[in-house]
């Protein structure tokens, strides 16, 4: 390979990353679901004809990214590349062939150049409603959780599959958004395919073969070098989720050996009868994300850079849910995995991990109107979800972040926008004082949210909250963050269940206390000026400052 070709390969790699970023931006601009356009719960990527991911958009959320990377192979198994035509688009929401629950649509589109198929574009987006029980943990099988779309063609050479769209339109509480989103997902893949063809033309390439090998080589070499910089050994950790019917223990033995990291989940609790089970692809996604953040954060995601991270997930454990176990809110358990990985890695590279954080999103899915109150409904039917987070864990040199999503990569919506699309009133949404775990660096603060409806009408929450009974732990002498609370009205309010569908009666409010992140290091080592500042800002009490920090 000439020096010029060597440089051009690098340029083409950069171009591919820009192409998938354009793909993601088109999705955000055209999507209908707030989950995509406001929250950014999506991902986008380009694949070779063997289903190996070459590049993935920087915009997006980790749970989708790595699981979508596995998904394209399933599409190719059913619809071989040789039979694909320009203008075809394929879709599924199969939790075991896609990204782990029915609310995520994955669309795959072939890309052509000079009449020949050269690659595939894929994307995933979390849509607002797919029928069934709605986003919540109450289902006892995937069949209750919504409309199940096998891998099918939604556009055939540019023509919509009307039978498919007929099913879609009648199966969702929000049919316009759902149909609009599918159009958006196809349009964004088209944009990527068009740009890819332009690049191949510019560099007079027939396909992606050589470029793929170069990307994979460079990525695996860099990833292995990063792994080999971590002390070898087996590191064991455990973390607990509140579970649904019983607490859940996640157990990991993480082994760092030459060129690879292997995680064995033996010892993890068994399956739940409710929708908190995790399909294996989603377990691999968040475990891998957690390790990668610590070990190799700068290396772009692709098939090769994910390859050296292997997960051994025993059958029958909650992280390896088989069909048709319910999986709707798999994030409740899955989003604890990065904390679990850091629990292992804290023993190997203590200066590079965080304390445990709130971790799981605290999204309240809210529903009101006739589907809650029947003929007595006082408000129009609504179905809405906002994306909210507690505090993140303390970091070795910095405090945790207040009310910020981690590991999820989503954003929240403005209260004013939410109140414009549904008859809800957020009476309170602010930081939760005294919720951060103490330490040399402290955790991030959680928040308090108080929610009602216009006219104080009856409504319902499909609770999917965790870390109520199992607060985020600190590390190296740091204190625990405050556990979460789910209450009916504030101040000595009645505790609600942390999971499942519950009606908030007329005149009452739903009150959520989101967890704070764990602290790191001994509190007495904390800079006194920072302690004083937190007291002045009303974030910790003067008593705490004295009792815990000795100030």
């Amino acid at each position: 390979m000439s020096a010029l070709e060597q440089i051009q390969r690098q340029i083409q790699w950069n171009r591919l990353i820009a192409v998938v970023e354009e793909q993601a931006q088109v999705m955000i601009r055209t999507a209908f679901s707030t989950t995509v356009r406001e929250a950014g719960d999506l991902s986008a990527g380009v694949f070779d004809l063997e289903g190996r991911m070459l590049a993935q958009a920087v915009t997006g959320t980790p749970g989708h990214v790595n699981s979508m990377a596995e998904s394209v192979g399933h599409f190719l198994a059913k619809f071989p590349a040789a039979g694909m035509k320009p203008g075809d688009h394929y879709i599924t929401n199969d939790p075991w062939l896609g990204t782990g629950h029915l609310h995520d649509l994955t669309v795959v589109t072939p890309a052509f150049h000079n009449g020949k198929i050269v690659g595939l574009f894929a994307n995933t987006a979390h849509i607002i409603d797919i029928g069934g029980l709605g986003m919540g943990p109450d289902g006892r099988s995937v069949f209750e959780e919504g409309l199940y779309i096998p891998i099918v063609k939604c556009f055939d050479q540019g023509k919509p599959n009307e039978t498919f769209f007929d099913f879609i339109r009648v199966g969702s509480r929000t049919p316009v958004e759902l149909e609009g989103d599918i159009y958006s997902l196809c349009a964004c893949n088209d944009a990527g395919a068009k740009r890819l063809a332009e690049m191949l033309e510019e560099y007079k390439l027939d396909g992606l073969g050589d470029l793929a090998e170069y990307i994979f080589d460079a990525s695996i070499t860099a990833t292995r070098a990063a792994i080999n910089a971590v002390p070898r050994g087996t590191y064991v950790a455990e973390i607990h989720s509140d579970g649904y019917e019983a607490p859940v223990a996640l157990h990991a033995a993480l082994t760092v050996r030459e060129d690879e990291v292997v995680v064995d989940f033996t010892g993890t609790s068994g399956l739940s009868s409710r929708g908190i089970n995790v399909p294996p692809a989603y377990c691999r996604a968040y475990s891998c994300f957690g390790i990668k953040c610590v070990v190799a954060p700068e290396i772009p995601n692709n098939w090769a850079s994910l390859l050296p991270f292997r997960m051994e997930i025993p059958e029958g454990c909650i992280l390896n849910a088989p069909r048709p176990y319910p999986v709707s809110v798999r994030h409740i358990v899955g989003q604890l995995l990065p904390d679990l990985m850091m629990g292992c890695l804290a023993q190997a590279v203590p200066g590079r991990v965080n304390a445990e954080g709130s971790s799981c999103l605290w999204n309240p899915p809210l529903r009101g109107g006739s589907q809650v109150s029947g003929q007595n409904a006082e408000v129009d039917d609504f179905e809405i979800i906002t994306f909210n987070s507690g505090g993140t864990g303390a970091r070795p040199m910095k405090d945790g972040m207040d009310g910020i999503a981690f590991p999820s990569g989503v954003r929240t919506m403005p209260v004013e926008a939410t109140e414009n699309v549904a008859p809800v009133i957020f009476w309170r949404k602010e930081l939760r004082p005294d919720s951060a775990g103490h330490g040399r660096t402290r955790g991030g603060f959680g928040q308090i949210m108080e929610i009602g409806t216009k006219g104080n009408a009856e409504f319902a929450v499909n609770a999917i909250f965790d870390r109520v009974a199992n607060a985020p732990k600190g590390r190296f002498g740091g204190g625990e963050g405050a556990g979460g609370l789910v209450l009916l009205d504030d101040a000595n309010g009645i505790a609600l269940r942390s999971k499942g569908f519950q009606v908030i009666p007329k005149g009452r409010h739903l009150v959520l206390h989101l967890p704070g992140g764990g602290g790191m290091g001994a509190p007495t080592e904390r800079d006194p000026a920072l302690v004083r500042q937190d007291v002045e800002d009303g974030l910790i009490s003067a008593e705490t400052a004295k009792a815990v920090y000795g100030r």
Binding site: L4, V26, T30, P297, I299, M397, G403, P414, V415, E419
Partner: protein
Amino acid sequence: MSETTAADSRARIAADIGGTFTDVAVEKGGQRWTAKVLTTPRAPELGVLEGVKVALARAGLTPADIAVMIHGTTLATNAIIERKGAPTGFITTEGFRDVLALGNESRYDQYDLNIEIPKPLVRRRHRVTVTERLDNTGQVLRPLDEAQVAAAARFLREEGMQAIAIGFLHGFVNPAHEKRAAEIVREVWPEAPISISSEVSPEMREWERFSTTVANAYVQPLMAGYLARLREGLNEMGLTAPVFMMLSGGGLTTIETASRFPIRLVESGPAGGAIFSAFVARQKGWEKVLSFDMGGTTAKVCLIDEFTPQASRVFEVARIGRFQKGSGMPLRIPVIEMVEIGAGGGSLAKIDAMGRIQVGPESAGSDPGPACYGRGGDKPAVTDANLLLGRYDPATFAGGNLALHPEPAAAAMAEHVGRGLKLEAPMAALGVVEMVDENMANAARVHAIESGKTYEGRAVVAFGGGGPVHGYRVCEKIGVNRMLVPSGAGVGSAIGFLRAPVAYEVVRSLYQRFASFDRAAVNGLLGDMSAEASRVVANGSFGAETTEHRIAYMRYVGQGHEIAVVMPARDLSEQDVIDLRAAYDTEYARFYDRPVPGSDVEIMSFAVTVSTLVDEAEPVAEPEAAPAPKPIRHQQVRDTASGEVRDWAIYARDEMAPGAKVHGPAIIAEDETSTLVGPGWTCAVDGLGYLELVKEG
């Protein structure tokens, strides 16, 4: 330098305060004189006054000859970045004390565990809540507790605050509570400068609105003081003409309005650059242009359609992660939309963990500068790479004022880029330039997508020290085959100020669906907005003819991103409403191939802009063909697309007359920059003295 502009016997002067230099331009009777003086950060008015003196002396004019002065400055931006504004207190709705701290609850970098989230300009102690609550229609859910407001004002004064911001949830729909709260604060504390969200940024989305309101309060005392001192200084020197301030959105306003809403000035310098490009586009009659300004540390691109720079209503200031979206504070104000990329002559190159060349965003700055400056810099910068490719003459760079040293450049390039890739310094340099060009092209492409635009049929206007050097290759990468290098680009922003109309934009949210369109309410609102904008403009237009533009920001019900659709500037008739709905479909189809069947359309907000008419550019005749210019010498230059080394002809720009034409590969050298005419390109000097490059085939 002269250039034909609208005939005007009165002299006009413009001053742009940048980070390093303050630029001044004077125009009279079609002639222009300029001055560049050092910015004086402690008392910026001194630099301006000095620059004005120098420029006037060059023009042979006196301060009394000036009919109008136009001014832009980065002071407000710097105050926010450096946290040097006034201690500010914020009074807000009970239950929402931490809107500024919580932001959108997200991380701007997914994999970096150590990111820093921007700290609010007002710390929590000074964010005070009071009982009150409105719903989304402006109905009162909880009345305002006036005693709490008075107590809050007293507390904030005792705490030493010097400015007050007030922002209530849904306050933009019904400003009654905010206005009443301001009255109460004024009763308790008469001299307090007060900013309220329903005046500063009356649009939906509480984080952005509050952030803007607080930032306005934060910079207000500083800006008001500066503007008063400047006015005084100008008066003392005898320059008593009215002074207009350049707004981020591209219009001009009076000092009085600017003192009330200084946050609208934040991006005025770059806005001047974009207006300069837009004026050049108008002179050429080019309807689709990309303005490409590449300097020492960053490159800025701006899309200009129909001679109007792309507008936006939200801007991020003080980004922590350099150039990372989401790492700054949002400001919701009318602003010229620009993308800033960490790519300039000083951007440093290195090899990343994957063995890839990475350029920027770290920059060598001016001290020590790139390795070739010979001031001790030992890391390779883009300027070093350009030198090693043979694009600069070491002896005549920057008009011969800065001798370049190839040896340290080659050593730095070999050490930090070449070694890891097993490449000699010249090929490593090629890699660095290709990578920085690719980065700029990628950013420009993604920006077009975000804006729903394309590069088909577009031309590039290149300026800044690096724009003409890198322009042709960036053009090739984004599929553009026409590029212009205007003259006077060194003080482009100041010249742009002189082309800006007196204009003011008012934006208001009023949610409408076509299925239930309330024509009376919409017409009432638009009428009020028009009156407000006209009032502001009348203060500075001295009876000049004005024009009004109205825009509706529309989307399919449920979608998240609006498209701007032009409306007639009159009370809407029933037919107008039908036409507006149809205009949306046309616009949407233009951006995205697939229209969405069966969806209703909603309007999120309206914008009304009143402005004086922009000077019409006079048509310029095609020059007669001039004899082919003679190269001043030849130079061995390596082409970045093919890697080939060939003799490139070097021409001096000041020896090229209108009508002169050269074929690439060639370089046209001038003091401030060099224009590269790549292989396959030709360059002709047009009737204005601008260099017009065209790629053949």
